[in-house]
Amino acid sequence: MRTHSILVVDDELLIRDLLYDFFRGQGWEIAVAENGEKALEILRSRQIDLVLSDIKMPQMDGLALTTEMRESYPDIPVVLMTGYPSIDSAVTALRCQVVDYITKPFNIHKLYKVIESKVKEKEG
């Protein structure tokens, strides 16, 4: 079976480290970025199955990243996560066609189930 790859985008080092260790432990390839611009650089250079991004980040936030990705990488599913959930950001996320919207703090095992199911759906 092919190894799955995920790009985690979050400005909080702690979250990036936590998710890096967790997904590595599950046998995934993982790349991390601290904002949307860095994420786009990574997307240009390697194959990614799914992007898990925070919404609120300096420079390019998660919604701007998703909007850009819908143009350049329409087939890569995006899951957004946020510690500041709001109806407005959820509606914007829906319009950006994200596959899920997760509120922080999250249960990492539930998050993993969501991510795994979305990658499997993409594989068809």
Binding site: I87, A90, V91, A93, L94, V98, Y101
Partner: protein
């Protein structure tokens, strides 16, 4: 157009017919599903509180049974949970009431465009399958399937 308020149904139907759409109106979830099964609707406007809270159930049913229909959810009292549920169930858009008719029209046009693209994609896929089948019957190397077309840009 599925809304439990007769006034909203009538006004929306009149407006969208005036700008060139053919509009059907229904007041409850059963009617949405039976009409959707019988027609190829480009767009469905569904109030979240159709009968009780059944709008989201209707969305899930439509996403499963009529995936080409773009479903726009409407709500006068949205909550974060409702919007997230609509996102997970595959809504094309979510519009808060009272809505701006110009904005809603723009969303409906985009939703209709998405429906058109999905139909085109179906035709192209079917043609590709047919060509591959014919090719394999003749012992020819089948063509690579075309890339999935992108839909629903902002």
């Amino acid at each position: 157009m599925a809304d439990r308020e007769p006034e909203v149904r009538r006004k929306l139907a009149d407006f969208f017919e005036m700008i060139g759409y053919q509009a059907d109106v229904v007041a409850n979830d059963q009617d949405v599903l039976s009409k959707a099964a019988a027609h190829d609707y480009a767009v469905a406007l569904v109030d979240c509180r159709l009968s009780g809270d059944s709008g989201l159930d209707v969305l899930a049913e439509l996403s499963a049974s009529c995936p080409e229909t773009s479903v726009i959810m409407l709500s006068a009292e949205p909550t974060l949970e409702i919007v997230i549920a609509a996102l997970r169930k595959g809504a094309f858009d979510f519009v808060v009431k009272p809505f701006d008719l110009t904005e809603l029209t723009e969303i409906v046009h985009k939703a209709a465009d998405q429906h058109e693209l999905l139909k085109m994609y179906q035709v192209v896929s079917a043609q590709g399958r047919q060509e591959r089948d014919t090719g394999s019957q003749r012992g020819a190397v089948s063509q690579r399937p075309r890339d999935k077309c992108r839909v629903g840009t902002l």
